[in-house]
Symmetry: C2
Subunit: 421 residues, 2 copies
Amino acid sequence: MRIAVLGGDGYCGWATAIYLSNRGQSVAILDNFIRRQWDHEVGAETLTPIRPLSERLRSWRQLTGKNIDSFVGDVMDYDFLSSTIKEFEPEAIVHFAEQRAAPYSMIDRKHAVFTQVNNVVGTLNVLFAMREFAPDCHLVKLGTMGEYGTPNIDIEEGYITIEHNGRKDVLPFPKQPGSFYHLSKVHDSHNIMFTCKIWGLRATDLNQGVVYGTVTDEVSMDEALINRFDYDEVFGTVLNRFCVQAAIGMPLTVYGKGGQTRGFLDIRDTVRCIEIACLNPAAKGEFRVFNQFTEQFSVMDLARMVQTAGKKLGMNVEIKHIPDPRVEAEEHYYNAKHSKLIELGLVPHLLSDSLLDSLMNIAVRYRDRVDSSAMMPKVNWRQARNDRSSSAQATEPAHHAVRGNGSRSKTVKPEVEYSKR
Amino acid sequence: MRIAVLGGDGYCGWATAIYLSNRGQSVAILDNFIRRQWDHEVGAETLTPIRPLSERLRSWRQLTGKNIDSFVGDVMDYDFLSSTIKEFEPEAIVHFAEQRAAPYSMIDRKHAVFTQVNNVVGTLNVLFAMREFAPDCHLVKLGTMGEYGTPNIDIEEGYITIEHNGRKDVLPFPKQPGSFYHLSKVHDSHNIMFTCKIWGLRATDLNQGVVYGTVTDEVSMDEALINRFDYDEVFGTVLNRFCVQAAIGMPLTVYGKGGQTRGFLDIRDTVRCIEIACLNPAAKGEFRVFNQFTEQFSVMDLARMVQTAGKKLGMNVEIKHIPDPRVEAEEHYYNAKHSKLIELGLVPHLLSDSLLDSLMNIAVRYRDRVDSSAMMPKVNWRQARNDRSSSAQATEPAHHAVRGNGSRSKTVKPEVEYSKR
């Protein structure tokens, strides 16, 4: 199957591209490397030393004999996108090519506008290119569980049957997204649903939970294939941050009470879910929604699990509550359905202690690359302009004081080893 | 009360601005006249000969002694918008400044992208300007009943109580918009709801039905104040088109079966609803939704009413079904609530035969200005590119043949007279 991976140089995109290639699919990556530019902008760096895409692809070819096509450009550029679609003739388009960080979208007006325009127009371009040049192609679009917010009822997969005043209909599940980024995904979902209806396009919206992990079977073939591990306050996710904080002996920074509950999944499940979606395409005209996560945890659940895993590695991990920079319920009901991908064959990797070890081991292995100043939140949802310059005060700047305690002095042997060719 | 009317040179905007001014409010109009430019682009013209804004405002001052401030610029331009907000210090912002035609948004990719970017970014700019420079100001935003689509259950005003698996929550009513334009309004609604939550802004989303009528008490003071009457296939609405078709003896063009049912209201009720919203502002942090229409009709209901009204004026009005250029249910359940504005004091003007007479009289009065080629649909929802050039074929180009039959030869005295100063 010919599969175009838009945003294939990013975190989920890269892991997906080489996974699908390894499974025998014909893969093309479209990327403009803007994700790498954002690192420079926010002054952050992936913990893991990722290589340029050209080098990644060369290594992949040398290691496996498999070729992945590379098209360098922006999905906002319709000429680029449509000519690439015409040339590659994809049967599936996996669309990761969006700005995907909530805090980035909340920095100020320009970042909010950029995020919504970039994501919404990029997706409109994909839809028009499909309509014009690949009408049978299947769109596999990355949405987010954050589209739903935290309603006081069970979250269904995309649609809900509503009985009201004696009548009944199956309607899109109401959305209550929590950032300008999450809003952009809601806008996308509505746009995609509409084009499936009017043009008979086929699309799967994968409402993904928070992804953790760096190592997949493919990534572990060689260090040249290593994937991103973001832990900074803008692009980092909570579990990565906790593991890095534990590794350098810094208290885990829980936003508010820590009762915020979300769906999570291992990146090895992300790539498998994408494969499942591609191999089981939506019908013509169908807009299908899968909730793509395997387990749900509260932030405090994660903090305690990292604490326990750290203990096994001989670390003394503290948990600290700091004011929540986001506007969100710090305690709430949460029960989200996620059975459709399981029914299609997903066998989840669960976040057990051993997985935590593996995550923790990446953090320990690269801890000399940690910038401890990158983790405290500087983007406050309540403000219309957030100054992230180096002179600006973070919400809680006291974290430098704790550096050096805990495990930092202890030698922990990394258990993740890359096989060498 | 200081009220800024964004898009105050447009159809609803102009009627609203002079109504509010007449009622003693201090009004400013912000407009960049792009609506007039779109007429040039699509090759259409309002039936009524509207005057430039500067002349309208001069006449208004001469007639009433009341001044309306005019700020010329684009809400997409944040410097313009924010400096105007700082200077005028509005207590309410009435936001009409969007691209508001479904067919315009469906012409092709560029028009879809333009509509969504223009509307979404314009509204984001308004929200950020309010947060930064007018945090207590009340946003009165024009949405559309089209955000809801045509669900098989009763449509509530913005929110619906859902009981599900033994739990209950009040959630945003699910949206199923039917064009890239309607989608832009759904995107706006989600964005506004979010900023009310995180910044404590106050907003009223007026999900307006299809507005008809040209004459308000203010407009009828002098012909220099005359308002738009759009009847072309892009910006015209169905009732206007039917009246013009009747006036020139052309069969009424019903799209498909004509069972499409929507909410409608008289423009005199539009301006009153805006006033009611302004005088009864939302609470801080509240995102309130009113369904702003007074009666619901199917397209066939309207065709038959125009036929009956035409008969009274001595016209022989035919009804013709043409293929529906839109993708929409041609027969469906429709029952939308609209009691909140009534509870706040709205006394509706109903679409009785006399109102039809008044609408019809405008059509008859200006029928020498009618371009009969402007009414057949050239924008087909099923296509990604619609060629609207003059050489392009309309869906049903046979309408020229019918011109001249029916009432054209009959002298009908217009009953609408403008009082002269």
